[in-house]
């Protein structure tokens, strides 16, 4: 198992090395490997598909053109997720200042989500809107920490590495975010 992890790390290190030298196929492999997680984080932070794709594009460009600054002390994924998170939060701030910059269409599903009890079915888009409204009440730091925890199921240690804060701070943020989300969610629309 350890050997497999080491192999994975080595091959990623080699990819990063090639990508740093401008090798497009190495960049492409890194893109394919990490685009999914990057997108999920960006989507949860922004609640909009096109914005999330734009953020992934920006973050990948920043990562590939800034690879000289990547010292390898953390994994490439950690470093990339840090860039994705920061880019998404910046994007969100600029969007709030300039609401017209939101472009593209949201292709959120209209399929009904059915709870255990069929009488309590709620439209998926409505569920997303309820959750997005609650997420919008979190500060950027609480939101990004909670998204890494809940969406990517990262450990406290991994999140601490991405956000460059102590593990205790991560725990405190997750606690605060969950308490806050549970207190502001529109339960009447969910139950």
């Amino acid at each position: 198992m350890l050997e497999t992890l080491d192999d994975a790390r080595t091959s990623e290190a080699e990819l990063v090395q090639s990508a740093r030298a401008g090798n497009a196929s190495a960049q492409g492999m890194l893109f394919e490997k990490h685009r999914g997680d990057s997108y999920r984080v960006a989507y949860r932070l922004l609640g909009h598909e096109q914005d999330a794709l734009d953020v992934v594009q920006e973050a990948m460009i920043k990562a590939f053109s800034g690879l000289a600054e990547f010292d390898g002390r953390c994994g490439f994924r950690t470093w990339l997720l840090r860039i994705v998170t920061n880019t998404a939060l910046d994007w969100g701030r600029r969007r709030r200042r300039n609401p017209t910059m939101q472009i593209g269409t949201d292709v959120t599903s209209n399929e009904p989500v059915v709870y255990d009890d069929p009488s309590r079915s709620v439209n998926c888009q409505e569920l997303r809107s309820i959750l997005d409204q609650a997420l919008a009440r979190l500060s950027p730091t609480l939101k990004s920490t909670f998204v890494l925890f809940a969406e990517l199921e990262m450990s406290y240690a991994e999140i601490a590495e991405v956000e460059q804060v102590p593990i205790g701070t991560v725990m405190s943020r997750i606690h605060a975010a969950r308490s806050k989300l549970q207190s502001v969610l529109d339960w009447n629309r969910l139950r």
Binding site: L53, Q57, R96, P140, E163, S179, R191
Partner: protein, 197 residues
Amino acid sequence: MRCSEVIQELITSQGGRDDAVVAHLTTCASCRRFADDSELLDRVWTQTRPVSPSLDSWAQVWDGIQSRLASGIESHHPTVLAMPATHKASSRFRRLGLLALAQAAAVLFVVQIGWHFIPGPGRDAAQKTQLAGVSQPRSEASPIEIDEGPIVVISFAGDAREVVAADTDSASGVDDGFVLFNEIESLVTTPVVAYQE
């Protein structure tokens, strides 16, 4: 097991529940309620997982990356990679938070006077316990219900006033100041007042 320990366990566990927690939940309605809300939040989270973009969308993103890298345009909006933007943001929010608190200090006097002019019975009713963090939009004429003791953050959006946070959660072990500060952070565009009865 104390309620605060149970809540901590419910929040931080990424898997099942241990026997002590389960036993506590059968006897404590308040923690049971928190656990139910927690389960529902998890379910909503799972059911709203983002759908992966189409391969065409990814191809477009990749083309965009390639062409921008080839043309040497690093980014439309350069940011410093070594320093997380959240640091930058937090110092800005800290300044705004301080601004909001300064604003609060200025308005506090007025709110206090207004509070003491609320008629007796209405005021008694108003001091009834109000769950921290639950949004309760109020019309301009009705009193805002707050507890004695905790610091509450009241937002003023148009004519509506609402209690948006209170540091009543000390039993749960969260740093209340941290939670309150985050509240103020997320309300930078809304006038707020921090108030203690």
